[in-house]
């Protein structure tokens, strides 16, 4: 049960951190921020990887987990690259 309460603390503090981190953003950056935050939410890759490693060679589970890894990485890789593409255009002259 202590691991559950640990995790709940982590959840609570993480949420508060998120609220504080991006309290003030200039409107210019709303779109890149949305896209960047979206890329971070692809951190589900960690869950997919864990699942693959714990699959113990069950083919169906491996397939589901690998599919999930693909979706998550699509989110992560695409998200970070497209954010970078947007932000690259904001450099000052």
């Amino acid at each position: 049960m202590s691991s559950l309460s640990n995790s709940l603390w982590v959840l609570l503090l993480g949420s508060l951190l998120g609220l504080e981190l991006i309290g003030k953003v200039p409107p210019t950056l709303h779109t890149p921020l949305m896209s960047g935050a979206n890329a971070v939410s692809g951190i589900t890759v960690l869950a997919s990887l864990t699942l693959i490693c714990q699959a113990d060679g069950q083919p169906a589970l491996l397939a589901i987990a690998a599919l999930s890894l693909g979706f998550a990485l699509y989110n992560v890789v695409g998200g970070f690259l497209v954010t970078d593409r947007m932000l690259a255009m904001f450099r000052r002259r």
Partner: protein, 483 residues
């Protein structure tokens, strides 16, 4: 001992990754640091993956599956990110977001079907939450993307109150499935929950009009964070929980900011149906009904007004991006600047299709960042502005939002272009705006409509101005006198 030090190494990497993620999100809120910050967040993600692999030590066959999944997803991500046009950014964010939701959904299904035997109660409850949020995020995002792409219309029945009944029914089914999953993780409750929450995501998103879609995407972005955090509970990863919670909170803040900018409450966006859809007769499909005192003029007259002006403000809207006219606009403003005209761009917080979207589109056309002026800064400047040119923007310059309490837009902060001496509105026709509402600006005495495609009109203005002698290498007579 060896496995102990490996765990320690993994934990250390995790901590560094969380720190970098937080710094990355923080840095993304300042223009000067945003790009580096995005890189930091990506690095953090990479570190987290390495840290996990160090701890798990996959076997060779596992590596193969990892490689296959990574190659497919990563490659598709690179291709999408490179190919997508900047105008389609809202759709792409929705698509990526939906895939993140799908990933969490699949993890939860996988654990429920194959690992539930040794899953405790916490994991089982987390599975239910993860399935619910993941499926809603996925189907909602895909519907949002399809609506933004124009693949899906808003069906008429979704505008009646019938939809609330349907959605409440679906929500009850979700609740039933969710409550039964912990007792029977592999049985029908799982599939009931998967089906009902997928349909609920569709049912909730489908009635929402195009103008409100950015708010929905932002909210779904928040959900995908929640889905990731729930997946973190399922597999017992605290790093996932932190990152998911941070993104969930971030999405909520952004959603709130957008609602404020559009003067909509989140509740009315989610449950109010499409804005203006109940207005009936006004606007829609290029109808000219409702307008009686329209003045139209040619690009030539507009060019003459520009040539005389000392201060010009452009109000770019999404119509500009649709016409791919950003570069022509940049040309025109360069020409005017060379002629001694003070040029700036008025950016409404929700110009384009997402907050900040217009800044991205103009930055792509090399418009200096400093010339983009936000609403609060530029509104006091309009009374001393000679010419305002509205390009493909509509609702964000509607004066009814300030003066007519019966307007659906009433109370929304708008750009007060009606204060300027002369206003030209470049538009293809008198069709209503994104929200389907008539615009009182068009009928004001100082307003003239320049009908045509934004790009064609801008190119027309360019050639008219050049033929007036503006921007010639040898300074024109007027410029000498002016200086």
């Amino acid at each position: 001992m060896n496995s102990f030090s490996l765990d320690l190494l993994g934990d250390a990497i995790d901590l560094v990754a969380v720190l970098l993620l937080a710094l990355g999100l923080k840095g993304l809120s300042r223009v000067s640091s945003a790009r580096t910050a995005n890189g930091l967040a990506a690095l953090a993600m990479g570190l987290a993956v390495v840290g996990l692999l160090v701890q798990l030590q996959p076997s060779p066959i596992t590596w193969l599956w990892i490689a296959v999944g990574s190659a497919l997803g990563g490659l598709a991500g690179v291709i999408t990110a490179q190919r997508v046009p900047m105008t389609a950014m809202p759709e792409v964010v929705a698509l990526f977001n939906g895939c993140g939701g799908m990933a969490s959904l699949l993890v939860a299904i996988g654990v429920a079907l194959f690992g539930a035997g040794d899953a405790g109660m916490v994991e089982r409850v987390s599975i239910a939450i993860s399935v619910f949020v993941g499926a809603i995020t996925f189907s909602g995002s895909i519907v949002a993307m399809a609506k933004l792409q124009g693949w899906l219309e808003t069906p008429a029945w979704t505008q009646s109150s019938l939809r609330h009944g349907v959605n409440i029914g679906l929500a009850l089914l979700c609740l039933l499935g969710g409550l039964l999953i912990p007792a029977h993780p592999t049985g029908w409750p799982l599939w009931l929950l998967v089906g009902a929450s997928t349909l609920l995501g569709i049912g909730v998103t489908l009635p929402i009009g195009g103008a409100d879609m950015p708010v929905v995407i932002s909210l779904l972005n928040s959900y995908s964070g929640v889905a990731a955090a729930a997946a973190g509970f399922v597999v017992g990863s605290q790093l996932l929980i932190v990152a998911g919670a941070m993104v969930g909170a971030a999405g909520l803040i952004l959603t709130q900011v957008m609602c404020t900018a559009m003067n909509r409450s989140l509740l009315s966006v989610l449950f109010g149906g499409a804005l203006g859809a109940t207005g009936g007769t006004v606007g829609g499909g290029g109808s000219e009904a409702g307008y009686t005192r329209i003045t139209s003029c040619s690009p030539e007259e507009c060019a003459m007004a520009l040539e005389q002006a000392e201060r010009v403000v452009f109000v770019p809207g999404y119509g500009l991006a649709v016409a791919q006219a950003q570069h022509a606009l940049r040309e025109l403003s360069k020409l005017l600047e060379a002629h001694g005209v003070e040029v700036s761009y008025a950016i409404h917080p929700v110009a384009g299709r997402m907050p900040g979207h217009m800044n991205v589109l103009l930055a792509e056309a090399d418009v200096p960042y400093e010339q983009l002026v936000e609403m609060d800064m530029i509104n006091p400047e309009f009374p001393r502005t000679d010419v305002v040119i509205v390009l493909g923007a509509n609702d964000v310059v509607n004066p009814d939002a300030k003066s007519d309490p019966s307007s659906p837009l009433y109370g929304m902060p708008v750009l007060e272009v009606d204060q300027a001496r002369q206003v030209f509105v470049v538009k293809r026709s008198l069709g209503a705006g994104y929200a389907g509402i008539a615009n009182a600006l068009f009928e004001l005495p100082q307003t003239a409509m320049v009908f045509g495609d934004a790009k064609a009109v801008l190119n027309g203005l360019l050639s008219e101005l050049r033929s007036l002698g503006v921007g010639k290498p040898a300074p024109a007579a007027k410029q000498k006198v002016g200086v």
